[in-house]
Symmetry: C2
Subunit: 211 residues, 2 copies
Amino acid sequence: MTRIWDVTLPYSSRLPSWPGEGRPTIERISRISDGANANVTRLSACVHYATHVDAPVHFIEGGAGVDALPLEALIGKVRVIALPGRSRVERDDLGSSDLAGVERLLIKTDNSALWNDLDHEFCEHFTALSVDAARWIVASGIRLVGIDYLSVEPFGSPEPLVHRTLLSAGVVALEGLDLQAVEPGDYRLICLPMKLVGADGAPARVVLTEL
Amino acid sequence: MTRIWDVTLPYSSRLPSWPGEGRPTIERISRISDGANANVTRLSACVHYATHVDAPVHFIEGGAGVDALPLEALIGKVRVIALPGRSRVERDDLGSSDLAGVERLLIKTDNSALWNDLDHEFCEHFTALSVDAARWIVASGIRLVGIDYLSVEPFGSPEPLVHRTLLSAGVVALEGLDLQAVEPGDYRLICLPMKLVGADGAPARVVLTEL
């Protein structure tokens, strides 16, 4: 039996949301305990809540929607690296790692420890990519980059240059991972977002398996 | 490169919904064309719309939520069988197939052709399982059964016996597949539903790969 690591956040309205986007409403619209035939839930949420991917159209007008992300980028061999103790992932952090041939990269930072408390208030000082790191990722041929808080971009960036750099090059941005239980190394990634037609992002279920 | 079949319906408000549950609302709450920093979408939907899985608590009060479905049932070898030309999948249809050792079963019926027209009105006469077929599935040790319309249960059933039979035994019900492009045979299934805490179901992205 292949071991499976579920690196997806448990989706409920407890998790912090991106400021201004609000938390989801998850409600039972039909209840067996009220005499209904079935329990039925309705979800109302921003597509960038919890573990999710960004599509090019999130920051690039006319860009591709999340349903058009190539499954070949979302499924396959992935490298997990650990970069603790920094507020930015810099170009040199990546350049000095051995990432030759890597097509999918997950970056485990101090962010992951924030998920020990799922109810924590949104943390503005999470670790994110520098613009130069994003450029390095594009230049190296990486097709997907994942990080363990709600954005690849530092909070309060005057311009969304990290997103624009990645998304305009067709790099999938995977955000909101919980990598606490995962050691650095090589795995098989399966990242399956909802197939939301034309949408700027989608919640994703993300697992790692042994190679 | 492993070939991948995406058997997930494209998720938009065009698809038929289960009567009474309504179609989703998918709206841009922020638009670059209106001067915003980013395009941001909000989704509001019943969790049983389009391609989705059912959790035990859908029909069994106190049952497990969709986040507790074992990944080992959702990922692994799967048998696809074709059963055209019938309104019910009967016990004998399964008993006369060679399903020894099969843990995951997808049933391709005439339903799949309905997805040639994504805008079609909800079809009440879709092919579904008989109660005896559901019992056969449980007895045979199958852990997941998938079908190509919105329910494993015939429309208008006086009691939800097919669901109760499957869900009380811990069999995952996978509904709303589009199997048009898939030939009968053995594949690897990857069925990843949203990790909705305690919910009765969740939209799922479902792909098949070569073994």
